[in-house]
């Protein structure tokens, strides 16, 4: 699957299917500070992502004071 990452913006190609939670764990991205969007729609942690999905992992932490 194609995975879009932010801050900085970059793309990864991941082979095979896996759950949202497994993908976040694999990329060492804590669930509490990220959301996963597939085709413009949010998906929860137990969603199974297909090998041909395009997903964005969006960080939600901002450091502005």
């Amino acid at each position: 699957m194609k995975v879009l990452l932010r801050n900085p913006r970059r793309e990864l190609e991941i082979t095979g299917k896996r759950s949202v939670n497994a993908l976040l764990a694999e990329l060492q991205m804590p669930r509490e500070s990220h959301l996963v969007i597939r085709n413009g729609t949010l998906v929860p942690g137990d969603t199974e992502l297909a090998a041909d999905d395009v997903v964005e992992i969006r960080p939600v932490i901002s450091g502005g004071c």
């Binding site: 509490e32 959301l35 137990d46 199974e48 992502l49 450091g63 502005g64």
Partner: protein
């Protein structure tokens, strides 16, 4: 692809988000309803706003400020926006576009102030000229201009988009230092007093993740990129630490901050020296201050006399505290 087993707690339709601190999943409709309910709860509990108020929302182009503006309008408040151009290179230029687009698409009024055009400096220059960390120079500038714009415009309340993560991170920092002065002032409502508007934080019961989700579900485009000058600041480190705890023990952030407000803040009431000390008028702008010149005028005086500094020259020095 179908979600495995995650259904909305309310309607049993497919969920779009899991919220471990509520031990529940929600569909889009019921997630938005939860967020609205949390904002209403904060507003009512702390007597933040009334429908008669003229509200000014400090807007950065990021998720929290656009979300709080959106929610307040939805709830029927009269709210205008205030955007401050901080001159942080491309980051500021892009953030202004998000703020303007949001206002334009909804027919809302956005007031814009440019630090460079109206005060002769920007945040990178202020950081260099005053030898402050960028977050400090930025905070001093923003707070002063928020207050001034609210008072000049006849607004009765200034709203900021500080969320539960922001407040918990500040509380952690203040607690690690046992800074009683800051702890005693860390309240979601600061009442109006001479030279200061009433300031409120309606998002204190909602996390950053929930606010980003609000924007995605509502189709609000916001600036996802992080402020380049905030990278490496302590505030971010505190948030990461709290999120590590939250992962092991969902609900910890909310308990830490909201129970502080319920159990600890009353004990600290009246302990703030800054809140009770006599203030006088700044010799330059007239704003309340403890010295001859207010912090904003001291920064503006030095920074406006300094040659403009490009943002790249001060990157990675954002380790300020709020």
């Amino acid at each position: 692809m179908v979600a495995v087993g995650s259904k909305c707690r309310v309607c049993k339709e497919p969920a779009i988000i899991d919220l471990p601190r509520h031990n529940a999943h929600f569909c889009a409709e019921h997630f938005l309803e939860l967020c609205r309910r949390q904002v209403v709860k904060a507003i009512e509990k702390f007597d933040m706003l009334s429908k008669d108020d003229r509200v000014l929302v400090a807007v950065s182009g990021g998720k929290d400020s656009l979300a709080v503006w959106d929610i307040l309008i939805e709830l029927g408040y009269q709210a205008d926006g205030l955007y401050i151009g901080l001159g942080i290179g491309e980051y500021s230029e892009t953030s202004a576009v998000f703020a303007r687009d949001f206002a334009e698409q909804r027919g809302l009024h956005l007031i814009e102030i440019s630090l460079r055009e109206q005060y002769g400096y920007d945040v990178p220059t202020a950081a260099k000229a005053t030898k402050r960390v960028p977050c400090s120079a930025c905070g001093i500038s923003k707070r002063h201009l928020f207050d001034k714009a609210a008072l000049d415009g006849g607004y009765t309340v200034l709203v900021t988009g500080h969320n539960l993560d922001d407040e918990a991170a500040v509380l952690l920092g203040n607690t690690l230092r046992w800074d009683v002065e800051y702890l005693s002032r860390q309240l979601p409502v600061l009442p109006a007093r001479d030279g200061f508007p009433k300031k409120v934080k309606p998002l204190i019961r909602l996390t950053e993740r929930e606010m980003a989700a609000w924007c995605i579900v509502r189709g609000i485009d916001y600036l996802v990129d992080e402020c380049p000058m905030a990278l490496g600041n302590k505030h971010l480190a505190y948030k990461e630490s709290l999120n590590a705890i939250e992962l092991q023990s969902p609900g910890s952030k909310a308990a830490f901050y909201l129970n502080f407000l319920d159990n600890m803040a009353p004990l600290l009431s009246g302990r703030s020296v800054a809140a009770t000390d006599g203030l006088r008028s700044c010799g330059s702008c007239g704003a309340p201050t403890t010295g001859d010149l207010c912090a904003f005028c001291r920064v503006a005086e030095k920074a406006s006399a300094h040659e403009p500094v490009p943002v790249e020259l001060v990157l990675g020095k954002g380790r300020g505290r709020r």
